[in-house]
């Protein structure tokens, strides 16, 4: 199903390009080149493109978990973006305030600060859901916007704006930065370019570790069992002696922690300061597609993250080489979401002409797409 959704999106996306007078093959060649370093027409450096893709997909590993874990508990966390921004803000504040501290102390501080900020940002919807039943979809959407405006306030005329007049904070201290894999040595040439241009940072290892932790937490701990039980049937979980309210709150706290960590890693590993780039960040929204496409499993999230990282890295090359707007990537992403959610592909498996098509499966809440609970009655899991 996931592969089919991607194929569906590329076919329809290609049609949209063709209808508007573009060449879909040139567009997709540009995407391939920019994302995977394959088939480059204008002398792009393959290694550089692959490293760009890795930088793009690193945070998705964590935000993907931040959406997938609540899915397992029957919760829809649309707030990964706000949680990520909270993490970025906390990392920036700590990284500037204590910029003199050495890396062994400061780096754990900024990462932990970002993690905590994200957890708090997700904890509010968790508590509201568990105590009075406020729908987490709505509360997390609201908190996304609160976070976005908070970032704008902080760096446009607010307390974090650097004195230079740009919409950006001062850089965080050297000790708050995640090391790059490649040394920044102008004399060292790797794959035809100075080593310093490859921006792959050690946050990648943290992201991969996050996936392992996610898998262990879900399948090898009692908390993971409780999360899955609550996701399948709150009533049954309650009869089984599980505190549903506690499980919901803890699930959201952990999810927010992963998002917040992703936000901290973007500051500590890539940007080193909070800029207006974060106004339009979509990492937390991409995570929804990543979690759904990855069917909520660690391995699935890894591959889906690579796909979306490659699409984002490929978009700019496509725009430069083929003259097709990089916003085609958003269109593809939306088409993938439509296709997964609606399961369009079952149309292809319809019986031959003349027979009544088999009825679509009953209610498919998003959470059910990735749990064995697909047969649970509607409303039970959401």
């Amino acid at each position: 199903m996931p592969l089919g959704s991607v194929v569906f999106a590329f076919v329809v996306g290609g049609l949209i390009v063709a209808i508007t007078g573009g060449n879909p093959f040139a567009a997709y060649q540009g995407l391939m080149c920019g994302g995977l370093g394959i088939g480059c027409a204008n002398g792009e450096n393959s290694a550089l493109q692959i490293s760009t893709t890795i930088v793009f997909f690193t945070p998705l590993l964590m935000t993907g978990v931040a959406v997938a874990l609540p899915f397992r508990a029957g919760l829809f966390n649309i707030g990964a973006e706000g949680q990520l921004l909270a993490g970025s803000v906390a990392c920036t504040v700590i990284g500037i305030k204590f910029s003199g501290l050495p890396a062994p102390i400061l780096l754990p501080m900024v990462l932990l600060g970002g993690t905590l900020a994200g957890a708090i940002w997700a904890g509010v919807p968790g508590v509201l859901k568990a105590t009075i039943g406020a729908h987490e979809v709505v509360t997390t959407i609201m908190l996304n916007y609160v976070a976005q405006w908070l970032v704008r306030y902080l760096i446009v005329g607010g307390p974090l704006q650097a004195a230079n007049g740009f919409s950006a904070s001062s850089p965080i201290g050297a000790g708050a930065r995640l090391p790059l894999f490649m040394p920044n040595d102008p004399g060292l040439i790797i794959f035809g370019l100075p080593a310093g241009v490859y921006r792959v940072h050690t946050g990648l290892l943290i992201g991969l570790a996050a996936l392992v932790i996610f898998a262990i937490l879900l399948w090898r701990t009692s908390l993971g069992y409780e999360i899955r039980a609550v996701g399948q049937s709150q009533r049954a979980a309650r009869y089984g002696g599980i505190s549903v309210a506690r499980t919901i709150i803890v699930t959201m706290l952990i999810a927010g922690a992963f998002s917040g960590l992703a936000g901290a890693i973007q500051i500590a590993g890539v940007d080193h300061n909070l800029t207006d780039k974060y106004f339009n960040d979509t990492t937390g929204f991409d995570a929804i597609a990543v979690a759904l496409l990855g069917l909520g499993s660690a391995v699935g999230i890894l591959f889906a993250s690579i796909l979306f990282g490659a699409l984002h890295a490929g978009g700019s090359v496509m725009q430069a080489d083929a003259g097709i707007s990089s916003s085609l990537v958003q269109i593809l992403q939306a088409l993938i979401l439509f296709s997964i959610a609606a399961n369009f592909l079952r149309l292809l498996r319809l019986p031959a002409f003349g027979r009544r098509p088999s009825a679509p499966a009953p209610t498919a809440p998003a959470a059910a797409l990735m749990t064995e609970a697909a047969k649970a009655p509607p409303g039970e899991t959401t």
Binding site: I132, V138, G157, I331
Partner: protein, 316 residues
């Protein structure tokens, strides 16, 4: 204290309240759409994308046809077509309505940006001439009333339309047979089906109506309040409308009151030259207020019972 004095001074001006009503009307249209859609049982978080689509196509049409009325119609239809996608995916295919809504919003943002670059190249979209904008109309005599005349009767034509639609939707939902059907489909579709109501038809109609209303709001934004299309120009207004719908407890009147409160925030934001508080902090207000409402401080806000649950007849 000068801050409070500034606020007090601004609150006394008719211009502030005129701007409040205008901002509220812009939010009210998609909020009404959300109320109708969700009352019929289809969760709609896609007003943002439908508005954006309406804004884009209204500008494209106005630049080509030089007629704001036709342009607004194009914007309305474009919003309706976006809603049709949401309807087909979530009603016919019984998809998760939240995922579909997110997909609509991403799709609209991507498609409008993509088309801007296909149609107009990488430059600006271009500006609509002053005479080709949706007009501001002063109601004769009434506009001469001190204070109130400025606030109520010197407004854009879409503001008047929004107020008429508010009354229409409120009466239709709670005083007509159609309204009863919409609400019964949203509360208990099985029972409605048994009573002979076509659940699918009602839901399709309700979702498409939400798109038409959001499309009108987009046209108002692009060729009434502004005079061009800027990528992502709705800037979260569709989500504020969603907040207004919840804040107003899924009633048109309630949503309108919420829109007035949020609109006042917007108007104060626009009067920023007088008030020395960060616009960005003010922009958080609608979202924080809605969180407070959801937290149960002002009584519970409860959605229709079947909201978000696709309908599958028993006999299938």
């Amino acid at each position: 204290m000068s801050f409070l004095a500034d606020i007090g001074h601004v609150l006394l001006t008719a211009d502030l309240w005129r701007a409040t009503l205008e901002a509220a009307a812009l939010l009210l249209l998609p909020a009404l759409g959300g109320v109708i859609s969700e009352r019929s049982g289809v969760v709609n978080i896609a007003m943002e994308g439908m508005m954006l689509t309406g804004a884009f196509f209204a500008v494209v049409a106005d630049l080509a046809l030089h007629n704001p009325w036709l342009a607004a119609l194009v914007g309305i239809v474009a919003g309706g077509l976006m809603a049709l996608i949401h309807a087909v995916v979530s009603i016919r295919f019984r998809a998760d309505q939240i995922v579909s809504g997110i997909a609509i919003n991403i799709f609209a943002a991507g498609l409008t940006l993509f088309l801007v670059q296909r149609i107009y190249g990488l430059q600006d979209v271009g500006h609509v001439g002053q005479s080709e904008l949706l007009p501001y109309i002063n109601i004769p005599l009434l506009d001469q009333i001190p204070f109130l005349g400025r606030v109520l009767f010197q407004q854009n034509v879409v503001v008047y339309a929004a107020l008429v639609l508010l009354v229409l939707v409120q009466l239709t939902l709670f005083r007509t047979r159609l309204g009863l059907r919409i609400r019964s489909v949203g509360e208990h579709p099985q029972a409605a089906d048994t009573a002979g109501i076509n659940v699918y038809a009602i839901r399709y109609g309700a979702v498409i109506t939400s798109g038409l209303l959001s499309g009108l709001a987009g046209a108002f934004l692009a060729i009434g309040i502004s005079n061009t299309f800027v990528p992502n120009m709705t800037d979260g207004r569709g989500y504020i409308a969603l907040a207004a719908m919840i804040f107003g407890k899924w009633t048109p009147i309630g949503a309108f009151i919420a829109c007035l409160i949020f609109g006042l925030g917007q108007a104060i934001y626009d009067a920023n030259s007088v008030i020395h508080v960060s616009q960005y902090l003010l922009s958080m207000l609608p979202y924080i207020l809605t969180l407070i409402v959801l937290a149960g401080v002002v009584g519970r806000s409860i959605p229709p019972a079947a909201d978000g649950i696709p309908y599958a007849p028993e006999n299938e």
